[in-house]
Symmetry: C2
Subunit: 179 residues, 2 copies
């Protein structure tokens, strides 16, 4: 049976980990200004903040990935998907070595039901082969060997060439319609 | 041109990092007995040591992966392969979270010419899709989507069903013959 299950690769940042919200929280804490999520629409994430070096500082700072909030509905959605799909977490973590360990710990805290067998930290995702990839970045979706599904984030709202889901409820609906 | 290059996934442990030698060094340091490499032939690695818990202790101890010797010829071989192939380091690191950071640092020290784009740390390797996989473990080679190449290690000497290379010189010869 296992061979017949389809596989889904799921990105972490802005798909199960709310990096936008975390950046807003850290920006407010450091600079005293709360940037609304809407300010991030349609532009690169870093450009949403008046201090454009801030996001670069945050992603290199201890704790940023470790304490990120979970995207709404992600935990329940992955548990449900695992009933019918082989679910893999596939996260770009090599650019920021500190994030390797923090992302591993974060997954252990929030997604302990995901086996270490099913976790991949990589640079580019072009050699990852699954039936589906859920990601927020065109740079990953464009080189995907399976079916690309764009998970809505502020920065990707103007892209129209992908299958798009705006929430984990929509992602479940789309994937289960393919069973 | 880049699209036409073939891709090679290269395992770390016992392929570019000499984990057998490192285990022998650590065993001798802790227990005062030097186990010859030949004692590892044809049996699981841990069984080569009178104290069969030793290897388990080592792989969970800080520094074990970080200070492992480089396999003879690996650095020059990978530099040469990169002239004609897209080379990826694909290492199982998720079972031992500490090894994530240590393996990243080890690569930065010995293989700084490998971009972070081309590094993958994963659990199982079944979703990795490259034209070739060079690995010492049947459990990885059996689920490989490309051509499997077994790199000789003590524990795998009795396996006869794989394309086998005994050294990096042989690996280069095999891969370049496919150009």
């Amino acid at each position: 049976m296992k061979q017949q299950r389809k596989s889904v690769a799921i990105d972490m940042d802005n798909v199960i980990a709310d990096i936008e919200e975390q950046a807003i929280i850290w920006y407010e804490r450091e600079l005293g200004v709360r940037i609304p999520k809407e300010a991030m629409h349609g532009i690169p994430e870093k450009d949403a903040f008046p201090d454009q070096e801030a996001l670069f500082r945050f992603i290199h700072a201890p704790g940023f990935f470790r304490t990120a909030p979970v995207i709404a509905g992600a935990i329940e959605a992955l548990q449900r998907l695992m009933l019918n799909f082989d679910v893999y977490i596939v996260s770009a973590a090599m650019e920021f070595p500190l994030s390797l360990y923090e992302k591993h710990q974060w997954l252990a805290e929030h997604f302990a039901f995901i086996s270490w067998h099913n976790i991949v930290f990589c640079g580019d995702k072009s050699i990852i082969h699954t039936d589906y990839l859920i990601d927020d970045h065109p740079k990953n979706l464009d080189f995907c060997r399976g079916k690309a599904i764009m998970f809505t984030a502020g920065h990707n709202r103007n892209h129209t060439q992908y299958n798009r889901v705006n929430s984990w409820a929509e992602a479940i609906e789309l994937l289960e319609s393919e069973l």
